[in-house]
């Protein structure tokens, strides 16, 4: 029992530090969010202001923008820590590294994924989405963006410190992001056509559970290899 309390306490300790750091580096934090807003706002300008067209492409536009915004933020996850040596210290703590890594991923989602979820209704309205599609956009983002952070952490750890790591990272993790994109947009399109989105949402939830279990553990092993 006491060891469980210890794990929770160390998770909280790292999470607090990460959030404090995020607050100190808030300009970096805003970059993915601003990217997300700009990309989506450019679509009505590019494809024309017809509401019918915008309504059809809206789920795909929002989700592709969310994928790319997350991708943009991933290099921040471990790079600074690699250069100042705090990553080494993280791996040298007595607590299991995967718990501390999970805290870092949690902080990444809170500062990258969650803001996208919160701003999405505004952008959905600008793309003329129906209220129900807007609701499902938020639900899929809420289920899907944690997956983007979790899978992204594995990719960021594997490509840490490599030259041209950014391109490699994209090639490595975009295939793993594609199921999220398909299920999420599928769910939004299904509901706006009057069908049930239960299947797609269940698959998204299953993917989330799978990555929650395995991603922190795989990431900590990948980091040990990258730091070797």
């Amino acid at each position: 029992m006491s060891s469980h309390v210890g794990l929770l306490a160390s998770w909280q300790r790292v999470l607090k530090r990460e959030l404090l750091l995020a607050y100190r580096q808030r300009n970096d934090i805003l970059t993915p969010l601003i990217f997300f807003i700009i990309v989506i706002s450019l679509f009505p300008l590019g494809v024309g202001p017809e509401p019918e067209i915008l309504r059809i492409i809206a789920p795909g536009v929002i989700w592709v923008a969310a994928l790319l915004a997350t991708l943009l933020s991933l290099s921040r996850l471990f790079n600074n820590e690699l250069h100042d040596g705090t990553l080494e210290q993280l791996l040298l703590t007595p607590q299991p590294a995967s718990v501390l890594i999970f805290a870092k991923i949690t902080s990444h989602w809170l500062t990258t994924g969650l803001p996208l979820v919160l701003i999405s209704p505004l952008l959905a309205i600008s793309l003329d989405m129906s209220p129900i599609a807007l609701g499902y956009t938020m639900v899929t983002l809420l289920l899907g963006t944690p997956i983007l952070s979790l899978v992204g952490a594995v990719g960021a750890a594997l490509t840490l410190g490599l030259r041209g790591g950014g391109v490699l990272l994209a090639l490595l993790i975009l295939p793993l992001y594609i199921p999220v994109l398909i299920f999420a947009t599928g769910a939004i399109i299904a509901t706006s056509n009057g069908y049930s989105a239960e299947g797609q949402l269940s698959l998204l939830a299953a993917y989330l559970i799978l990555t929650l279990i395995f991603a922190p553990w795989v990431t900590s092993h990948a980091l040990r290899v990258s730091l070797d």
Partner: protein, 201 residues
């Protein structure tokens, strides 16, 4: 007790040292010497469990360190070439975060006071000099009580006063039954306490 058996180290696939063996008892200080590129940092990283040796093994109380990582990490304080502090956080925050045992505010204050950073508590680290940052990293030696220290060039960028402070504190640690592995190129009074030497040349 820390024991190294026939360690060999590689850097980008090339063997840089081999057949390094030693054993450290309570109160022992190991000095790793060697020219630039001879593999001092690699050896220290192997001893800390950050890099896997190409050959050989490191034992902590007769147990392999990678198999019993959590026990080993509880007993180890490693300060590397990169001092392991966040440049956007201030001295107090950094020190509190790297403290794994019970650390109250008074203890942190007095540690920073002792290393001479008492008047720079609220500045983010990136505004401090290299030497000041190194002093904050070394303040960890005051607030934690691990028996084994592994310190990679702890004196880099330190002034004469700080070097002397470090030497005295290291001597105290050894007298209290602690162990330490240190690399340095500088002359310092703690060299007289060295009981084991590994020369990588």
């Amino acid at each position: 007790m820390l024991q190294a058996n026939t360690l060999a180290g590689e850097r980008s696939g090339q063997r840089i040292f081999s057949d390094v063996s030693f054993s450290l008892q309570n109160g022992d200080l190991l000095h790793v010497s060697g020219s630039n590129g001879s593999g001092k940092t690699t050896l220290l990283r192997i001893l800390a469990g950050l890099t896997l040796p190409a050959e050989g093994e490191v034992l902590w109380h007769q147990q392999g360190i990678t198999a019993n990582r959590d026990i080993y990490n509880e007993n180890l304080l490693y300060i590397g070439h990169r001092h392991g502090m966040h440049s956007d956080l201030n001295a107090l925050e950094n020190l509190r975060l790297s403290c794994h045992q019970s650390c109250n505010r008074a203890k942190l204050f007095s540690a920073l006071e002792e290393v001479g950073l008492g008047s720079h508590l609220k500045k983010p680290l990136r505004l401090l000099s290299q030497g000041q940052q190194r002093r904050i990293a070394l303040a960890r030696l005051l607030i934690e009580s691990q028996p084994l220290w592994i310190l990679d060039e702890p004196l880099a960028a330190l002034d004469v006063i700080a070097v002397e402070w470090f030497s005295q504190h290291l001597a105290q640690h050894l007298q209290g039954g602690g162990m330490a592995v240190v690399t340095t190129h500088q002359e310092a009074s703690f060299i007289s306490h060295v009981s084991v030497t590994v020369d990588l040349n």
